[in-house]
Amino acid sequence: MAQTSIPMIQSFTLLLACQLIGEITVKSAGLPLPGPVLGMLVLVLLLALLPRLEQVVRPTLTGFLGHLSLLFVPAGVGIIGHLGRFGSDGPAMVLALVGSTALTLVVTVFTFIGVSRLVQDRGERASE
């Protein structure tokens, strides 16, 4: 066993550092983007530049992302302050969510298939 310890602290330091870079850049440049999203792009870039980094961070990041849904709980509990809204606007909110979800699924899937067929057709014609 060459390496038994998972570099957890280092991986978390990297995540926080990327987030920090993201937050600083967003704030100083006034970008319309949450800092962590820019931090995500910074990490993609780092991984592309230093492919060996992936092996180091993979165990910690995979474990962390496996519990992603736990992190929504505190914000979700905040619904307690909005229960009144569900009484008055509940049906409208549910209908908006159902309608928008179904519509987004259909539009995305047909756009993907349509464009993918166009590209294929063009490819086939070019090879003729």
């Binding site: 962590p36 709980v73 987004t104």
Partner: protein, 238 residues
């Protein structure tokens, strides 16, 4: 000897109690989810939130007191968003191969998600920050919460909309696409990832591995695009 009520008074104010309660409630939700063989209707977050809301309501605890403890979990949303870089990077070659259909479908889907939620909500009489909270609902929760804070929508309302959108998409995607006769797993997966983020992606992995991979990409890309588009669209409309 200290009475039970005095211990409660002490504990109810300390972050330890509510941090423990958050993890315990999630563990209950997760156990139920596994017991139900990962049925998307048995969502662990929804179960945990329901349990905690009931406890707070019964003990007359203000959300602010609860959040003193829960903030340690909430804080991790930022680093978790950064960590989404890993699946995005892993699938980079897959992204390149279907780049064009993916890009066009992403833009169409992201715009549809934001505009249709705002449009239907508005047509049904929603207004003010309730309406705004709908805009980022198809993005994964950490990003949606960040966007909500940015556009002045109540972040916890957005969090609940995000979870409900995830569950809805995960439940309707398979019957809907089967009825429409769609057999392209790339398209099916990508659509559910764009629409219903992580919860939809979990569902896609259950149905087909290709759908799962494309769903993960759809989730990551739409997190990014919603973060850019939602503030712009909201600024343009309101």
């Amino acid at each position: 000897m200290t009475g039970l009520s005095e211990i409660w008074v002490y504990l109810a104010q300390s972050p330890l109690l509510w941090l423990t309660a958050t993890l315990a409630a999630y563990s209950v939700g997760d156990a139920a989810f596994r017991a139900a063989r990962r049925n998307p209707l048995v969502n662990p977050v929804l179960i945990a939130v329901t349990l905690l809301v009931a406890v707070l309501w019964l003990t007359d605890t203000p959300y602010e007191t609860y959040f003193e403890g829960a903030q340690f979990v909430h804080f991790l949303l930022g680093p978790a968003t950064v960590a989404l870089a890993l699946p995005l990077y892993t699938n980079l070659s897959l992204i390149k191969r279907s780049a064009l259909p993916m890009t066009v479908a992403l833009i169409a889907g992201s715009v549809t998600a934001i505009l249709s939620a705002l449009g239907i909500g508005w047509a049904l009489g929603l207004s003010g920050d309730t309406l705004l909270a709908l805009a980022p609902k198809s993005a994964t929760a950490p990003v949606a919460i960040g966007v909500a804070e940015q556009i002045g929508a109540p972040a916890n309302l957005t969090a609940v909309f995000v979870i409900l959108t995830g569950i809805l998409g995960a439940v309707i995607v398979t019957p809907l696409f089967n009825a429409l006769g769609i057999t392209d797993w790339r398209a099916r997966g990508f659509a559910v990832g764009v629409t219903s983020h992580g919860i939809g992606t979990a569902r896609a992995f259950q149905v087909h591995p290709t759908a799962g991979a494309f769903s993960g990409i759809g989730m990551g890309l739409n997190a990014l695009l919603t973060a850019i588009l939602a503030p712009l669209i909201v600024r343009w409309l309101f």
